[in-house]
Structures are given as structure tokens and as C-alpha cells.
């Protein structure tokens, strides 16, 4: 029998990017909050610049619950399974994947909220790709702006504004929507290589700008400025310059004495009462089973686990999984069209051994609907991103661009000369949901607790593939303008498990096609809130985390202000 604990106001499942943010406005509002986290606290001493451990072996020193539940994948309901990943792309810890993420902290652009209506208006309804279930968001960028602002300041985001209250500043992104004020910190500095790329973009008539980063560019909130030492990708920050929720919003919430953090707590199911309201969650810790009752449950794990916890939480009121009487849990799933990079070889050293993936230069000319699609065969676009970051094993594993064999003395001579002369661009593109891309429970593969893992049935569609080729050409053009001597384009793969997963519990006013309402609360379970990219219906052409965090803040803020109605 589970040990029943004292009832709390709010239980948050997962203290990562989303739950770690939501805890702060709730605690400040005086609510009694408990956060259940499967991982542990990690300290700066855990964050050695060790490529083998961090990048090759996927953080084996941390609690890796996620590695026990890696989703399976198939391209379609009739396709065979793809090879299963060996390492889950996300991690468990207080702070979650914000511990080791790149920290790129973008706001979506205005078009991303209105893909359907804007496409219809400019090009006609026939340009919405066939089979897509895309909807406009229930609100526009203006509605989310105050929450973006709150999160940027509470976390500490560095960046160059491009549009303050309608006034365009060409040093920033001229395509961004209006923001109320500048970033709390100036952008991270450029490197020699990013300056070279910025100059080449200007030659092409584009508007390059430094991207926004949840990394301190100067001392902020008691944390020191970034040391640019590298090892930021899949690495934690040994001086706490990366604005992970573990060093920002979570400790701030703890200081209010209204947040209790329970680590190594593995949530298994969400319980409902006979009226179909959420009653609390069951979790395991140290070999014991607990039931944590709460007036409100906020589900804040990653996309796959959000969907899985709903689907395995079956009851008389919800025989097909919690909040799934409408059959929408797991639908409208997509993973970001962020593969298919372009790699360039330069005739000189770039000296990108130091720096971080968030220290880069972006071009937004080809993102969203910032260019005319009248004569093109796709909608949406891509953000072009190059940055300063290199590690020795990855450097040695470089492509030989067809100029050398893959081993032996000739290979050795090639990498000796070229290990620091290549660069790979990160190209994030608009991605849409489709009728036949979805998540469900795998019928046979289970985790060690005998719960089924998530099965992804999804593949890129024609719009994704055409867009990907178009963006690769723009990136190749940029590299050539900067003096590259060889270019390689990696083909677009398929929609396997990823760090940029979206949908599965989509947000929208229509309860027939969405799981949560415009405030992030379930259409079917009024005291169940869902946080994370699982509520997002479009991806935009940029990293999801800041949007996830702004939405989490907004849901928590709404909960605090409407406590009596919701409970």
C-alpha cells in the first residue's frame, strides 16, 4: 500500500525547464507547492569539461530514469521499427535538461502563432499542406510577451533586442515581434569566426545578429559572467553562468519556503476521484510507494513522459487514459525539423575550440514567412545559426569532404590540417503536425517498472523536406560568401526521439482537437495543468525552451490568480 502524504496545494511532476519555472510564481503567491523530481541535485563539481562522459556516454553519473524509457519509433503505422536509441536525449536532475542544454532562448516570431490564418490571407487556403492538423494558436505573440519578459529577467537571458515597442534596432533581429524592453543582459560576445560569418551575411544583404542565450554575458543575480570555456553542449556549467532553473527559479522559489523539492521521486500514475478530478499522484522513492494528494496537479515532464503518464493513468472516468476521452492525447505530435545540417570546410583555421553553441550569429531572413513564398512549393522557413564550439573527439571525427580516406596516414594528415577548419550550421525550420504523426503506448516494449514506453509514429512530410532543401541552399550560400571551399549537405532523416519534441497534449480552444485550454488546463480535468512543449501546436524556426517557460509561467500565474475557480 502506498503511504499517503499530507495534501498540498500543488504537486508539480518534474522540476526541469517548465516545472522549475512554474514553481516560482506559485510559491510567490503563497501556495504550498511540492515538486517531484526523478533526478538529483547536481553541483558545479559534477560539471567537468569531459567530452567522453558528457557527449559520448550521455552523462552516466546522473540518475537516468529517462534512459529506461526511451521511446520506440517507426515512420508510419505500417513501417518497421527504427533502431532504438541507446541514450535518451533528455536527462533527469533538478533543473532537468536546462542543466546541459545549449541555452538558446528564443521568443517565437508573430507568424508562428498564426500559421493557418496568415497562410490563407497571403497565399490562399490551398497552401496549408494536405493532411496537416495545424491550427492557429488560441492567442498571439502579444498575449505571451509579458511572460517571455518575466522569464527572461528571472532566469537571466543575454541578447540584443531587435524590436522594442515597434522601434526596430538593426543590431538585433529585425523580424522579431515587439518586446517591452531590452534583454536583461547584452548579448554574448562574438568570436573571430562568428564575426567572419556576420560580415559575410551583410555582404549578402542579410541582417545577422547575436542570438539570445540563457547564459550570463555579465555578472547577474549573484552569478558570474560566462567564461566561454566550451563543453556547454550536453555539459553543465561549473560556474553557474548557464541560467538553468536549478540555479535560478528553483532556488528562488525555495527561498519563499513555499516549495519543497523531493528528489529521486519517480511518478508512476495520476489518480482521479469519482468526479474525474485529479486527486494527486503516486510515486516511488527508495523502494517505497507514496501517494501525494494535491488540489492541483501540474504535469511538467518532457513531451514523451507527459503523454505516457496520461495514457497509463486509466480510471473508470478515463478508461483510455487521463484527459483522453476525446482521443486527443498523443495527437498532433511532431519533432522539430532541425536535422539536415550543412557542413563547410574553410582554407584556414577558425579557432573555434572555445565558446559555446549559444555564442553565435543568426540570420532570420529565411525564417517563418519573412520572405515571399508565392512561387515556392512549401510554407514556413528556417533560422540559420552558426556558433563557436568544438571538442577534440568530435573534431577528429570530421567529414573528410571526399578529400581523404577515413583512416591511415593520409587521414591523419587531413585531420591534422583540418580539425579546426570546419563548421556545421544548425538549421531549425517550421514544422507542422499531421493526422498520421502521433504518440501512443508501445504494445510490447516496457520500462523496468512494467509500464509501456512511448511509441512514436512519425515522419517528415513533403513540406518539411522541400523546406529543408531550400534552407540548406541558403546556408551553403552563406558559407561560400564567408570563403568556404567545400560544402556538404546531410540529408533529412526521420522523426525519431528528439530534444525538440512538440504536441501530444495540444493547447487550443476547441476541446475536440486539443487536450488543454488556452491557459494550459485540461479540457476534461479542470484541476490538471500541463506544462511543456507538449502543448505547442507549431514549432517556429527556433529552440522551444523559452516559449515552454513563458507558457509555464503563464499557466502558473493563471492558477494563482484563479485559485478558487480552479480548485
Amino acid at each position: 500500500m502506498a503511504i499517503e502524504l499530507k495534501k498540498r496545494d500543488v504537486v508539480i511532476v518534474g522540476l526541469g525547464a517548465a516545472g522549475g519555472v512554474a514553481a516560482l510564481p506559485l510559491a510567490r503567491a503563497g501556495l504550498d507547492v511540492v515538486g517531484l523530481e526523478a533526478g538529483t541535485w547536481l553541483s558545479p563539481a559534477d560539471f567537468a569539461p569531459d567530452e567522453l562522459r558528457n557527449n559520448v556516454r550521455g552523462w552516466p553519473q546522473a540518475v537516468q530514469k529517462a534512459n529506461r524509457e526511451i521511446p520506440t519509433h517507426r515512420r508510419s503505422s505500417s513501417a518497421p521499427y527504427s533502431p532504438r536509441l541507446a541514450v535518451h536525449p533528455m536527462m533527469n536532475a533538478v533543473g532537468g535538461t536546462t542543466i546541459h542544454y545549449w541555452g538558446q532562448s528564443w521568443r517565437l516570431n508573430p507568424w508562428d502563432f498564426k500559421v493557418v490564418s496568415e497562410t490563407r490571407r497571403r497565399y490562399g487556403a490551398s497552401r496549408i499542406p494536405a493532411g496537416s492538423t495545424v491550427e492557429d494558436w488560441p492567442f498571439g505573440l502579444d498575449e505571451l510577451e509579458p511572460y517571455y519578459d518575466a522569464v527572461e529577467y528571472e532566469l537571466g537571458v543575454s541578447g540584443q533586442a531587435g524590436n522594442i515597442q515597434g522601434k526596430i534596432d538593426p543590431r538585433g533581429n529585425i523580424f522579431e515581434g515587439p518586446r517591452r524592453r531590452a534583454y536583461p543582459m547584452p548579448p554574448l560576445r562574438g568570436s573571430g569566426f562568428t564575426e567572419l560569418m556576420a560580415g559575410a551575411a551583410r555582404k549578402l544583404g542579410w541582417h545577422p545578429f547575436p542570438g539570445p542565450a540563457a547564459v550570463t554575458s555579465r555578472a547577474y543575480d549573484g552569478r558570474p559572467a560566462c567564461a566561454y570555456h566550451g563543453f556547454c553542449a550536453r555539459g553543465g556549467c561549473h560556474i553557474r553562468s548557464k541560467s538553468s532553473t536549478a540555479v535560478t527559479t528553483i532556488p528562488k522559489a525555495q527561498q519563499t519556503k513555499r516549495l519543497e523539492v523531493v528528489t529521486e521521486a519517480v511518478v508512476t500514475t495520476i489518480e482521479v476521484d469519482r468526479n474525474g478530478r485529479a486527486r494527486g499522484v503516486n510515486y516511488l522513492k527508495g523502494g517505497m510507494e507514496y501517494f501525494q494528494p494535491a488540489a492541483v496537479v501540474l504535469l511538467a515532464s518532457y513531451v514523451y513522459e507527459n503523454v505516457r503518464l496520461l495514457l497509463v493513468s486509466k480510471s473508470a472516468a478515463f478508461p483510455n487514459g487521463l484527459s483522453n476521452n476525446g482521443g486527443q492525447v498523443g495527437r498532433h505530435y511532431f519533432s522539430h525539423n532541425q536535422q539536415a545540417p550543412v557542413t563547410a570546410l574553410f582554407p584556414h583555421d577558425l579557432n573555434t575550440w572555445y565558446g559555446l553553441p549559444a555564442q553565435g550569429v543568426a540570420v532570420d531572413e529565411w525564417a517563418d514567412d519573412n520572405f515571399d513564398h508565392s512561387t515556392l512549393d512549401f510554407i514556413g522557413g528556417g533560422n540559420l545559426w552558426v556558433y563557436s564550439d568544438r571538442r577534440p573527439i568530435a573534431a577528429a571525427e570530421m567529414s573528410t569532404f571526399g578529400r581523404a580516406p577515413r583512416w591511415g596516414s593520409a587521414w591523419k594528415a587531413f585531420i591534422r590540417q583540418n580539425a579546426d577548419r570546419w563548421n556545421t550550421a544548425y538549421l531549425q525550420k517550421t514544422t507542422l503536425p499531421y493526422e498520421d504523426n502521433y504518440l501512443d503506448l508501445d504494445p510490447t516494449v516496457k520500462d523496468p517498472l512494467e509500464f509501456p514506453v512511448i511509441r512514436i509514429t512519425a515522419d517528415y512530410k513533403e513540406n518539411d523536406r522541400r523546406l529543408s532543401l531550400f534552407i540548406q541552399d541558403r546556408m551553403a550560400e552563406w558559407y561560400m560568401a564567408a570563403g568556404a571551399v567545400a560544402i556538404e549537405r546531410t540529408p533529412l532523416g526521420t522523426m525519431g526521439p528528439t530534444t525538440h519534441a512538440y504536441g501530444g497534449t495540444r493547447m487550443g480552444d476547441n476541446a475536440g482537437t486539443n487536450v488543454v485550454n488556452r491557459w494550459g488546463f485540461s479540457h476534461e480535468v479542470p484541476n490538471l495543468g500541463i506544462l511543456g512543449a507538449s502543448v505547442m501546436g507549431t514549432s517556429g524556426a527556433r529552440n522551444p525552451t523559452l516559449t515552454v517557460q513563458a507558457l509555464a509561467w503563464r499557466t502558473a500565474d493563471y492558477l494563482a490568480k484563479n485559485w478558487k475557480t480552479i480548485t
Binding site: 526523478a38 553541483s43 558545479p44 563539481a45 559534477d46 560539471f47 567537468a48 569539461p49 569531459d50 567530452e51 567522453l52 562522459r53 559520448v56 556516454r57 552516466p60 553519473q61 540518475v63 537516468q64 530514469k65 529506461r68 560576445r189 568570436s191 573571430g192 569566426f193 567572419l196 567564461a227 566561454y228 570555456h229 563543453f231 561549473h238 521521486a265 519517480v266 516511488l284 527508495g286 523502494g287 517505497m288 583555421d349 577558425l350 579557432n351 575550440w353 572555445y354 565558446g355 563557436s388 577534440p392 573527439i393 573534431a395 577528429a396 571525427e397 577515413r406 583512416w407 591511415g408 596516414s409 591523419k412 594528415a413 585531420i415 591534422r416 580539425a419 579546426d420 523496468p448 517498472l449
Partner: protein, 218 residues
Amino acid sequence: MVGDTHDDAAGERGLSRRELIKRTVGFGAGALVAGSAQIPREPLETLTTAEAATLDAIAARLIPTDEHGPGAIEARATRYIDRALGGALAGAREAYRSGLADVDARARASKGAPFAQLPAADQDAILTEMEGTPFFSLVRTHTIQGTFGDPYYGGNANFAGWDLIRYPGVRLAATADDQRMDSRPARLRRSAYDHAMFAKRRPSRARLGPIEEPWRSS
């Protein structure tokens, strides 16, 4: 310095680079392995002596010692793999057992001698034939890890791999000057775990085994 790398420093310090190259170039990998046997070595942890000899010989052809300096042998890539096969790469132990046996079987069948004793040209012919196999990819991947990874794990001895690709080394802060395209930051020769703040939290191989399961009682 991490204790693991002291022995290499002692063993190879006496050899000038020119001497090292003279000893190893032009003699083929068989001679190379014989030559490197002069370096004091700690006992193997996972591989058999015969397996280690074959693996050394393969690594010596993948990243050879040549006019561009030391290769996988000097970097002690085999030591990295030997240790990792008892820990983080334990899942690959069987692939090494059968894969190395297969390499030797091919060598005996086509050339009448174990792989490690063949001239370099014959070894290269066998490796070329194996290039598309999963085992070749596995060994190549691990040889690169053992040559260019942090020396804490037993490879990249004397920072041979980092010197090869002109990596200026792990530092805990990089200045704006260090990031200029024309700057050449001074080469730092330290493992991440030579830094005091990380020394206490070295990943132990015991913890590289089964992943922690917080739902179970400890």
C-alpha cells in the same frame, strides 16, 4: 596530472620525437608493437595479451605513427579500450572477442600469420577489406575516443591526440583573445580532472555500469 598518465610520461620521456619516428616508421606495425613493448606497461584489465596485440596492431594502422608524429600507439588507445571494456563499454566486450578473432583468422587464412605479425601493407589490405563491417566502425570509433579523449580514461597519453589536431587543451576560461581567428592559445596539458574542483567527482567505473534506479531501495 592524473595518476593514470604518470607511467606514460616516465616511459616515453626518454625518447625524442625523432628517435620515436625512426624506430617506428618503415618497420610496419609488427615492429612497432615489438618496439612499444619496451615501454613499461601495466597489466591488461579486460583483453587477453593476444587480443591486445591484435588491437594495438589495428590501432597502429588506423592512426599510424609517421612523419606527422605519434599515433594511436603512443596515445595508448588500446589501454583506453581495455579499461572501458570492463566498464562503460562492457556491452562491446563480446564484439571485441569475436571481432579480433575474426581479424586474426583472416590474417592466418590469407597471409599465414597472426595480424600483428604481418607487414603493414598486408595489414592495410585486411583492414580495407573489413572497412564496411560493424566491427571496423566500432574499433575506429573507440580508437578515436582513446586517442582524442580526456587522458583520465587511459588514452591520449602525453596528450598525443590533442597535439596531433593542435587542440590547445581544456581550460576553464577563454578570453576574447583566445577566440580570435588569428590567435593561437597556449597549449594546456591537463586532464579535466587535474582541476581541483573536479578531482573529487571523477566518474568511477563502478558507476558506469548499471544506471541508477531511484525507484529501488538502496
